[in-house]
Point group: C2
Chain length 204, copies 2
């Protein structure tokens, strides 16, 4: 079984790369699909679960008004949702199929399966450009977008630190780190797929 995890900075095109890698390799692809399983298992509304997880990520940023006044703790319910998400991810791995999974600290959760771990990143300018071209965003100011990107990535870093000491985005924790500032994602898919296969082969 080959597992590829894709961690990424917001706006780097990491999700697109993950999806295209899965298509190119004929692997299953998991990202938001996991949410519906988690919410089904917990008999909770999917949007509610999604917002809880987002809030958990964002709220693990220290709140600062001039000085740090503390960190929001995870509610018992949010902790339960996160635990369920990890369980669902491990259940996917137990099925034994090849797959690509984006985000969700999957590289840490699936550590024992020795996945190939990618990290996708880009310059802030490139991330702003990429994010603002997405239709789902209603942010029109570049400054505001830069702030959101920084906030989301801080949240990802922090949510990872709840799980592990292996720092988010620290290259030593990944097999391959790809800077997408100057490239079109679809153009790098084929060689990245080839390279990742070599990494998986090397780890078996």
């Amino acid at each position: 079984m080959n597992i590829i995890t894709v961690s990424r900075e917001f706006g780097s095109g990491g999700r697109e790369l993950g999806k295209r890698l899965a298509d190119a390799l004929g692997y299953a692809y998991y990202d938001k699909e996991i949410l519906s399983v988690v919410s089904g298992n917990l008999k909770l509304d999917e949007t509610y679960v999604s917002r809880k997880l987002d809030a958990a990520t964002l709220h693990s940023i220290p709140l600062t008004y001039g000085r740090t006044i503390g960190r929001t703790r995870l509610s018992m319910e949010t902790a339960q949702i996160m635990a369920e998400q990890h369980k669902v991810i491990r259940e996917i791995a137990r099925k034994g199929e090849n797959f690509v999974i984006v985000g969700r600290n999957a590289d840490v959760v699936l550590k024992d399966y020795h996945p190939a771990n990618l990290f996708v990143y880009a310059d802030m300018d490139a991330k702003i450009r990429r994010s603002m071209s997405r239709k789902e965003n209603d942010i029109s100011s570049e400054k505001e977008m830069a702030k959101l990107i920084a906030q989301i990535d801080k949240g990802r870093k922090k949510s990872r630190e709840l799980l592990t000491n292996l720092a988010w985005g620290e290259k030593a924790n990944y097999h391959l780190c790809i800077n997408t500032s100057d490239v079109e994602i679809k153009k790098i898919v084929a060689p990245v797929a080839e390279l990742v296969k070599t990494f998986i082969g090397g780890m078996e």
Copy 2:
């Protein structure tokens, strides 16, 4: 003109990857060849020049005996040798041929040519294994080798800091960072060559 710079941790196999990439792509390859040009230009012995440059790298580490007692400054001669080396590297670029260059802070020296910049790294265990299998090393203890690796890499980091604020090994400063802990270098050459070509294309 396509330029690929390869920066690497000691023992990561970066030089081997650089050489093999050049062969695979039909590019010229520059590494130690530069030394003989530098020493020729300065009418100095090549071994002497090589030792001066190594010493400059190693001595830019703060000397610590319990507490920091200071940094060795570069002698005027060493500074001259380094400047000559940068000049030689830029002259190579002016020839207009495609080439791969390993080390020597070439990514910084050649910044205006927009090279594709790779960083090659590995876990300490893998670097020890790789270094100790090289015939040119007469170090037989793993502990001693780990110390040497750490010392050389600290020197590379410091010598880079003499030139630029773009930190050595910080992924934002490279297009692609490759972890060679679990792979045979020769197996990754073909896909890395393909991927790097995409990066070069994306930058033009």
